[in-house]
Symmetry: D2
Subunit: 408 residues, 4 copies
């Protein structure tokens, strides 16, 4: 008997910042018989998805969908646009920025890592300065993680765009939105992003296994001259086949069923409402953390993430010991601290198919876990979050939503 | 497009006292192809269920399973054991006791209704007095609702048994456990119950559509002479067919798949653990209600229900208006007040496939709803429940579990 | 490990005449979280079903839906309309007519059984003669099975209606359509049926667990004076609650999800197309049986069933031994011979969610089974069926469809 | 309303040579809530799969599992073992061999394409000759498709191994088993294969979205020096993370649930039984094609595929027009002719979760389709297949199984 199928009573609280809880209607869509990926029914499925997916990226450009994890889409963004030895400017926002940099190195690129303290977004002024300094245009691309999943800090992508433009630099802008797409306002076209990298298992509310590149005309032009070897990831054949609703290789049909259903759900709710809901939940969570007297890892209030909140443990207390108490006692998974944050932070995911009462269960689990694990804190976090969701806090929550949308 | 499939974001909180949330593994079991109800595979399914279902009733006697709602099992209990015009003593514990009495009347029986105030359990002394007074043994059966779903009050079935015995009265004891089976300690054999009536959609964590009669030897003997007409409900043919794992009519195969999976889950957790969990959650809920300064409908602390808590609204406030706020704002269904309690109480279901954090989400939804609906209350209910589930309250919670098990 | 979940490779062929294969979209609908049966979403579900279910019965009268097997709906038809000791005229068409008669006896009615040879439909002339003879109108109801599931013989319900009318007899007409509804043309209103009894697990393509009474105004009037005790089955409370989309007791919510999806599928295909498809498959099956040189049990070509075909075994060969070979070797369930037909016939179900190629697999399984079991037969049955489905047989198949619709 | 969810009555026959029909228990496994891919439950899932997957490849070496289509696994096999400009010897067996060659070119390799006529397996002697001739060992790898999905021809991988050894050549042996794994006998270890490429959507009975590299020690050693850039596909990090049941990136959790269930099913049936079943079905299909008087594309009886049969159309008849008739009239998808075979062949898939009666439905659909499309043929194909599955043909079928296993 395999234990992973053997949950205790009630539903598991999957409050890591992704994969997120998959809605029942998406799971049921995935549980349909696979069809011929070259038949007329498939074309209808493909066109239904391809005609709507852009609205989530706020783009009219093609969105390439891979059967792959998000890591694959990171790779795709690079190999389609760059050539061996190319220099790329990458902003050190946290663990995932670091992983993307290592991946670039493995591919034979030369990343330059703009240092960061993992508590602020990408430094727009430093990007501007570095590009202005690059008279030869040796830098071929700027890579930024929009919402750094390891820290809960949002970078100002519109600002990065303005920095590149101000430096009159031709570098491509490549952005990872793996944990922000469908959760935090993101505008591929308006912000002039060249490649947006995304994954299925966060705001899109799907299981992992699909990933995405939204690609600007400039990126497609660059891909004609880029010489890094590529085949599976090559945009050209996919975009060509997509015109009729197909893929050049056998696509992940059942996950595409799920994506079609997830698009129904997101568009039924309406993207502004989806983003507003995440803003509300981000606000409520931060109110709880402040009430506990704990420190939010993100040091810049303008850069707070609405998909997750990373919380610093008091000195001398191990975040993973605390997470273990919460998992064993309350059947809730929280995110761990990654690389240099290991043991020092825990992360609360509040994104995807989520609502007020599930958030309250989540925060109650954290508050009770802090108590049971003997972590110094004040009570009252849950109360503070309830105030945000139900009362006096409401006005400011709404205001905050507005603001965070503006920020982006 | 049908709206009932069109939930907003996140999971609905189904906190009525039944139907309860069905675990995923039970839903998935139900979603299997139907098989030949006369074939060898079906026999294995039937025997797997029939060999284990008794343990939930704490009985070695046959448990008859109907394709029907709980109302059907009420009818079955009466038509199998009684004859037209028979006098039955029924205890008025609340709305469901009233419905059962009306059903008895429709069937041509003569129920005598022992009055109750809907805030206490069945009056054991009154039952004893009435039976002692019935020298002719005109009363053929005593009918009691173990856990009155409309009020959240538990009756002392062991005490009723002792009252009947003390009166040396031959009446059968028929007990409704629709909202207590698998949630509150219940002992068919030890308490000498003759017919136990149950349904699938509460502690058994199934959708509605199956119901049950656990039947003592004395009840089966009575059924030989009972003359109320019966066919679908007749125990004899079912018990005979069950010996080989079959039913005389086409059983509800897919719900039986679910029952088999639900038994797996209940027996994996262990019945004492299941009951202890419900006791914990009953305790925590009552702590919250007290902290809010609201009144629990059940006036006898020894009779508190661990499956649901009915809460009295302050004078002048409408429970259904409050429930509507909670439904619209927080996507949570609470139980309404029934018949004479309409508008005066709301009921919080805390039974079935449930856990600590879902309870906390539930109580947070009530607390925020009270605030938003302008119902006078004190804050702090959620905090009080957290104290029970995580801390100081723990010891007494455990003590209470013991006690409530003893009570039964 | 429970064996019933442990199918061999490929899909089981469930070719008994019900339960039938449940379409994936119906199973997936059933696999949705249960909702509050008193909430606004449930009302939408209820009204969606109640507003469409009548079209399958070809009626504008109320259709009462029970959480129960078809046997329950048999009982409901009788207890709602009759009084203890009432005389009912029942036509002996086969095993299920016999079971319905026994059920009537258990309920205290006095059935008169018009004898039949199990190879022809109900004798319309004999019904007329008996009613004409009943000057006192002692007979309160005429009960006929439309499609006798044990024999594959259809009775002429329109003819029975005309016989009753010709005798100017006030008896109610009660008809069992358990294995014909949604498969063979059936017209509740046009034929003046008073109560139509149906079940979920045949032409409606659902798992067992729901059953139906379509009730005429005359039947509802009769129910006001009928004195058989009834409660769960009572139409009045159900019809009243149905007006708002609810039920007086907790309905089988998840099976109702399935019914809603099954209605979608039937009405998408269109009832005439559904009936035409069944006629095609009946024709092809009979062509195969004739080609094998085996005898169809139904001795009247005008009474052939389009939902199932019962086939007589050659003398000295046991139908169940043959069925066992088919089950073990080809993973196909065929229907057994019932009561006096035990061992002498096997039944091929060709109803419900079915198509040409699945029928061909079914008939190939029968033909190979006959060979492997050493049953004397000629080869060529599958070829004959292919001829019907693909070629020369086509015209006559269409003609037959028309005819069989006329027949009804 | 999206049409791809709107199937006509009965089940679609998905008889392309993959994706194949996914068993219900696998679909239901995939329809489970996603879990934390870094938690203890996931490790159990991962280890359960990784401990068993090798048995299907008949290997003790690591099997690397990607979230990707089979095309991705082709790429992975090359980029992990080769360097830019490397020469590889590839056998032209058909369309998929051609695609793999083009992919190698896109990656900057220099494939040498050993010509073939698409009707025979890879030419073992030619491979030997070419390698013997390559004194400088310029050829770094030999790439062969085991079962060419476009033609239904099996190549002799053991023979290729012997050819390499006889030439004393150090080239790696890379084999595509996408449409043979779990269907046709394949022995990674015994045949000395260095990289086996496989996909989820054929013999493994899963939806598309997972793919595989089984990797020999020699292949892993080669990967240390291979300089093609790689990151997502890199074996080293995956094999390292797999030791604890994890992946370096977020794996496709829900498809892994399905893989775990598919392994249960394959190992319950037993790999030799699975292979024997496919051999039976291949035999029966070929008997049908011969009876129709049509020509099997595969010109070498020792190389017949047991997963699919490609059938040549008579001159002047368009295979796709025929396929359209079959799809529209019988709701069955057959495989199309690819590249130079377009319009000239259709392909019958008979692999995966399949059984005798579904095969008979399939062949009946082909036979009726031939008739309706006016394609010259003799009747009797279905009869010939029945003879193989049920009678005289049995002995030879068994013999054939043996032989085809030997072949491999």
């Amino acid at each position: 008997m395999i234990r992973y199928d053997n949950h205790p009573s009630g539903r598991h609280f999957l409050q890591i910042p992704g994969p997120t809880s998959v809605p029942d209607r998406v799971l049921r869509a995935i549980d349909r018989p696979t069809i011929d990926h070259r038949g007329p029914e498939f074309a209808q499925l493909g066109l239904s998805i391809l005609g709507r997916i852009g609205s989530i990226f706020q783009t009219r450009e093609p969105v390439v969908i891979y059967a792959a994890s998000g890591t694959g889409a990171w790779e795709a963004a690079l190999v389609n646009t760059l050539s061996p030895g190319d220099r790329v400017l990458m902003a050190e926002t946290g663990h995932f920025a670091l992983l993307w940099k290592r991946l670039a190195e493995r591919l034979g690129l030369q990343p330059e890592f703009l240092p960061g303290d993992w508590r602020h977004g990408a430094d727009v002024n430093a990007i501007h300065a570095r590009l202005a300094d690059d008279r030869q245009h040796a830098i071929k691309a700027v890579c930024v993680v929009h919402n750094e999943t390891s820290t809960g800090v949002v970078s100002d992508i519109g600002g990065v765009r303005r920095a590149i433009d101000a430096a009159r630099h031709p570098a491509l802008l490549l952005v990872d939105t793996i944990s922000s797409l469908g959760s935090i306002d993101y505008r591929h076209d308006e912000w002039g992003v060249d490649v947006t990298v995304a994954g299925s298992q966060k705001g899109l509310m799907l299981p992992p296994g699909l990933s995405f590149n939204a690609v600007s005309e400039k990126a497609r032009a660059a891909s004609k001259h880029a010489t890094l070897p590529r085949a599976y990831w090559a945009w050209d054949e996919i975009i060509a086949a997509n015109r009729n609703g197909y893929w050049p290789w056998t696509p992940a049909t059942n996950l595409l069923y799920g994506l079609d259903a997830a698009l129904d759900q997101l568009l039924d709710e309406g993207l502004p409402n989806v983003l507003g809901r995440h803003a509300r939940h981000g606000n409520a969570t931060r109110a709880a953390v402040r009430a506990w007297g704990l420190e939010i890892l993100c040091a810049d209030p303008d850069a707070y993430s609405n998909s997750l909140t990373a919380v610093l443990m008091p000195d001398g207390f191990d975040a993973d010991a605390f997470r273990r108490v919460v998992l064993e006692r309350f059947d809730m998974s929280l995110g761990t601290g990654l690389s240099k944050l290991a043991g020092r932070v825990f992360r609360i995911g509040h994104l995807g198919d989520f609502n007020d009462l599930t958030l309250m269960g989540t925060l109650a689990g954290v508050e009770m876990g802090l108590r049971l694990a003997g972590v110094p804190h004040r009570a009252g976090g849950v109360d503070a979050a309830m105030a945000v969701l139900s009362g006096a806090g409401e006005a400011s929550a709404t205001a905050k939503t507005q603001r965070s949308v503006e920020l982006a």
